[in-house]
């Protein structure tokens, strides 16, 4: 697509140290400016099914979205709604798939900006020069307590039931993807990750690892996964790294 900025992308997904299945699903397409990350849930491999289904539905829908941010946003919402519908449909088709769902983090690069959408607790970070910034706010009970002023950020980090999310695909007939548009700059590095990374690794460590491997996204991705596993690897770990090389007018 002509409006896609020049990007480098890399990704890793790892089962981690504690789980038997990798329920995460990632997909990236530098030429389409698209990065997708889904964190499935549900028993009997159902989480894998949900995340895979989400990615397979979303990818063709999002790949060709135009540069206009409204269209991107609507397109993203439509795509997520479609994915949600597919997952619900699938879930209804077999009792095995009952209760399956998935979180979502996605980034769509067009022109001088990126449209970032997420559902649940999958996150998107941005490293600009030496500053790492979280661009998404988790759709989790914890986060909403923090946002509501019921809990401080420190208390949240110590909380037990970190993984209670308030929004996911495949749960209800309607799901709202939270979509935000951000301007991009050459050299920006965007990180899409599942909670397997950020539950294990602090933001500071993530920032340090990224800066240490700024020139090589492959090693950076490997380093992030390795660090998460080193810290425990309780969940599946998935990362997608995107570096902005040049903007598109």
């Amino acid at each position: 697509m002509e409006s896609v900025p020049t990007l480098q992308m890399s990704g890793r997904t790892d089962v981690g140290c504690a789980r038997e299945h990798n329920e995460d699903q990632i997909a990236w397409d530098a030429s389409a400016g698209l990065a997708l990350l889904a964190d499935g849930m549900g028993g009997h491999n159902a989480g894998e099914v949900a995340s895979a289904l989400a990615i397979s539905v979303l990818h063709p829908l999002l790949r060709d979205l135009p540069a206009d941010t409204l269209e991107q946003e609507v397109g993203m919402q439509n795509a997520v709604a479609d994915a949600n519908r597919e997952i619900l449909h699938k879930a209804a088709s077999d009792v095995v798939f009952n209760g399956m769902g998935t979180t979502l983090a996605l980034a769509l690069f067009r022109g001088k900006g990126v449209m970032i959408g997420h559902v649940g607790d999958s996150r998107v970070y941005r490293l600009r020069s030496d500053r790492l910034m979280q661009l998404t706010a988790d759709h989790s009970l914890l986060q909403e307590l923090v946002a509501g002023g019921f809990m401080s950020a420190d208390e949240a980090a110590q909380a037990v039931n970190k993984n209670v999310i308030t929004r996911a695909l495949g749960i209800e007939p309607n799901v709202d993807v939270e979509v935000h548009h951000h301007e991009i700059e050459p050299g920006d590095i965007y990180l899409l990750c599942s909670d397997g990374l950020n539950d294990m690794v602090t933001d500071n460590s993530i920032a340090k690892l990224l800066m240490d491997n700024r020139d090589n996204l492959e090693t950076a991705a490997d380093a992030l996964v390795a660090e998460a596993n080193r810290c425990g690897g309780n969940d599946n770990i998935s990362v997608i790294l995107v570096r902005v090389v040049a903007l598109k007018e």
Partner: protein, 841 residues
């Protein structure tokens, strides 16, 4: 058609006649009468003179032989003696004899005779005295003859004489004793010489007493040219004080007939009667003698030189029974007098003519009724000029006039020639000539000016029609008013009146119809039209008076028989709605039969004069821009124009209703249809924005939707700017700002994205039946639009997909840069979003 009286056909004849009547008797007009008289008299001068009249002329030969004048009067004594011997009937001396001769010598001799008693001396002295007393000799000689008449010159009394010198008894004796009562004549008419007063003298110069003593009669001499410049009239009787004296000629004539002055009776104002014969005179006792021409080179009267008679060279038989007149004919000694026949003659000769006229009863008489005849003739001519002549064509009229002129002149000549009657008919003749000339000229001028007027008429009429065709009715009326009114012009005026009516200019229409009625009191239904239009004018005035809304370009529509009103070239059929600044009408273009919606704006009511020109210019600019928009979802603008103070836009007449009909919660359209509509509007706006045209007033009321066909049309492009700028005038925003973007409310520059905000509001309202921003007051509404976030659409419509909120939110961004940037993108987003609706339902 009423004309002033002086334009009437009878007027010139009347004026000329009146003028001639007033001028009659004045010098110039009298001349005509005199000239005509002279002419007539000349024609009849071939009558033969009385050959009993003989003249003894003191001519140049006499002066040569007998010495220079004055002569001693014993020569006259001698002449009288000779003529008496020759048995002449009458001898008349037409000479002034008022000065005595040798008075000093004679007195001295008489004195000596008294001194001397000696007989011889007395005898010598007596002889000397007798020799010297020539006057006495003349007198005695005349007395002896007994038939000598003397003339006495007189001085004409121009004014009423005062104290008059007393006269000698010898003269008084000849005053007429028998004078009939002087009948007063009240009229003073033409010609001027025909005065009513008897000719009067304030001085008489009778012969010296010694001469006068021998007279058989003394009468005044006619030496003065009375009646113009020649001796046409001679007074037969002269008034001196209370006495009336017969003229010398009259006395001579009387004596020729063996009568004397006692046989004469004067009837002032009529004439003189002599022994049964009446000499007719004019009221001034003047007779009009004839003058005779000689025949075969001989003078009319036999004339002998005094010298020849004195020398007894003339046979005595020449004088037997003749009337002999003695007088001077030498040109240097007497003034010759002019006569009507054109000959100047010595007074004695003139007297001979007068005597001859009297003896032959050849006088031309002026009857007492001459004045009435004259008046009657003038009246006749006047009537002819006034009522007869104008009826004929120029040629016929002229011929007729010539005949009349011929008749008048002939009457004049024939009367003089055959009846010896003179009727002064020249005033009527002059009146006729002038009248005919004036009328002929007037005819010519009229024809010429009629030609010019006709051409001017045609030009004015054509110009008027052109102006009318251009819609400039007032100048057209002005032109038509300058045309002569006829049937076809009335037709034009009638149509103009109907045009005024169509343009709702009722008072003008009334003016036109009234003008028609002035000229044709029952032209078609003009009377009804006047009444109708007056009523309409009244209604309009009342409507204006009670209108609370200043910007109400309302046109009354249905008024029975009134002509369908016109706006520009469109016939207004009916009212179909009310716009922001005026009414919307259903109109029809009669030429191509297209039905249009006509949106009117009373710009001149809305703006003051300073702004008006600018606003109008902008209106036309915007309208032109809007007119260029060619999009299936934008209403087509056909025409913009101005009619009186109403500006209008003629556009496609659309089926369906404005979207405002589906804006309440109970009357919402299905979401899909709303999407379809908004998509079309968004595309239309995108097209307009690419043409740099901003709508500025997007709201449900400006979007027409036909449910049956699904047609969507955005209306009122380029109009909202006017509503907008009216803020500057009133200081308030017209209508609700509910659909306005923050930047538009703030008065900042607006562009297409502002329209998209308004469309977002519309979208919101169509989906929810509510407005995104609602407040109690205008101020708080404006605050909310500028600062507060609207309610999420899906709070009100949870059934709608998230993308609906996204789209609404993006359209309602306060920050114009973050807002959806184009209608096209909005449309695309809507299309994507619409897919979700179909999937969901």
């Amino acid at each position: 058609m009423k004309k002033p009286f002086w334009r009437a056909r009878w007027f010139p004849g009347f004026a000329v006649t009146l003028l001639c009547l007033l001028a009659a008797g004045s010098e110039p007009l009298s001349r005509f009468d005199w000239a005509a008289y002279d002419l007539a008299v000349s024609f009849t001068s071939s009558r033969t003179a009385d050959d009993n009249v003989v003249i003894v002329a003191i001519d140049e030969d006499s002066l040569e032989q007998l010495g220079p004048w004055p002569w001693p009067r014993d020569r006259f004594a001698q002449l009288v003696h000779q003529l008496n011997t020759a048995k002449a009937a009458v001898v008349g001396f037409a000479l002034p004899l008022d000065t005595a001769e040798n008075q000093h010598g004679l007195e001295y001799l008489r004195h000596l005779q008294e001194e001397y008693t000696d007989a011889t001396v007395r005898e010598v002295l007596g002889r000397a005295e007798a020799g010297l007393d020539t006057d006495g000799a003349f007198g005695r000689s005349a007395r002896k003859a007994g038939n000598v008449i003397f003339g006495m010159p007189y001085r004409f009394a121009s004014a009423a004489p005062g104290q008059l010198p007393a006269l000698d008894d010898t003269v008084n004796a000849y005053a007429l004793r028998d004078v009939a009562a002087n009948r007063p004549v009240w009229f003073d008419f033409v010609p001027s010489a025909l005065t009513t007063r008897t000719t009067a003298a304030d001085r008489l110069f009778p012969p010296v007493p010694a001469v006068a003593a021998g007279a058989a009669g003394i009468g005044h001499l006619n030496g003065y040219p009375l009646g113009g410049d020649s001796l046409r009239a001679v007074p037969l009787v002269l008034q001196y004080g209370e006495r009336y004296f017969p003229s010398f000629s009259l006395l001579v004539a009387a004596h020729s007939l063996k009568l004397d002055h006692r046989a004469l009776t004067a009837s002032p104002g009529r004439g003189v009667t002599m022994d049964g014969t009446t000499f007719h005179t004019d009221p001034a006792m003047q007779a009009y003698p004839r003058y005779y021409r000689g025949r075969d080179d001989r003078p009319p009267f036999k004339t002998h030189s005094f010298a020849a008679v004195y020398a007894k060279e003339v046979e005595a038989s020449e004088f037997r029974g003749k009337t002999v007149l003695v007088g001077i004919t030498v040109p240097g000694l007497v003034d010759r007098v002019d006569t009507p026949i054109g000959e100047a003659m010595a007074p004695v000769v003139a007297s001979a003519h007068v005597v001859s006229s009297l003896l032959n009863n050849d006088l031309v008489s002026v009857p007492a009724w001459a004045v009435w005849a004259q008046l009657a003739a003038l009246l006749l001519v006047g009537l002819y000029l006034m009522f007869v002549l104008p009826r004929f064509r120029l040629g016929t009229g002229l011929a007729l006039s010539v005949v009349l002129l011929f008749l008048l002149l002939n009457a004049h000549f024939l009367l003089v020639a055959t009846q010896s009657l003179w009727l002064p008919l020249m005033v009527p003749v002059v009146a006729l000539l002038i009248g005919v000339t004036v009328m002929a000229l007037r005819r010519l001028v009229d024809e010429r000016s009629n030609l010019l007027r006709g051409q001017l008429d045609l030009a004015n009429r054509n110009l008027g029609q052109m102006l009318q065709a251009q819609g400039q009715f007032d100048p057209a009326f002005e032109k038509f008013r300058q045309c002569a009114v006829n049937e076809s012009l009335l037709e034009l005026l009638y149509n103009l009146g109907l045009d005024f009516e169509r343009k709702r200019q009722f008072n003008r229409a009334v003016g036109v119809f009234n003008y028609i009625l002035e000229h044709a009191p029952s032209f078609r239904d003009s009377r009804d039209r006047v009444r109708l239009n007056q009523e309409m004018e009244k209604m309009t005035a009342l409507g204006k008076g009670f209108a609370t809304n200043t910007a109400d370009g309302t046109m009354a529509i249905s008024y029975g028989k009134l002509q369908k009103p016109m706006l520009g070239r469109y016939q207004v059929e009916r009212e179909i709605g009310r716009g922001a600044m005026g009414m919307v009408y259903l109109g029809r273009d009669p030429r191509i039969g297209r039905t249009v919606a006509i949106k009117t704006m009373a710009l001149s009511q809305e703006f003051d004069d300073e702004q008006l020109a600018e606003v109008k210019a902008r209106f036309y600019r915007e309208a032109e821009t809007a007119g260029r928009l060619n999009h299936p979802n934008i209403v087509t603008v056909y025409d913009v124009g101005e009619e009186q103070d109403l500006s209008y836009i003629a556009m496609d007449f659309l089926q369906g209703k404005p979207l405002s009909a589906w804006c309440r919660p109970e009357s919402l359209l299905p979401a899909e249809k709303v999407f379809d509509i908004i998509i079309k509007v968004a595309e239309a706006l995108d097209y307009a924005h690419q043409q740099q045209v901003v709508h500025r007033d997007i709201k449900p009321a400006n979007i027409m939707y036909d449910e049956k066909s699904g047609t969507v049309k955005v209306t009122d492009f380029g109009v909202a700017c006017l509503v907008d700028s009216s803020k500057t005038k009133t200081g308030t925003v017209l209508g609700s700002p509910s659909y306005m973007s923050p930047e538009q409310l703030a008065g900042k520059k607006v562009d297409g994205r502002s329209d998209l905000f308004s469309l977002g509001v519309t979208f919101f309202q169509l989906l929810t039946g509510e407005l995104p921003f609602v407040a109690d007051s205008l101020a708080s509404l404006m605050y909310k639009i500028a600062n507060e976030k609207h309610v999420d659409v899906r709070v009100l419509r949870p059934d709608l997909p998230a993308c609906v909120s996204t789209i609404v939110n993006r359209a309602l961004y306060k920050d114009i840069e973050k807002r959806v940037q184009s209608g096209h993108h909005l449309a695309n987003a809507l299309r994507r979003c619409k897919q979700q609706i179909t999937k969901d339902h």
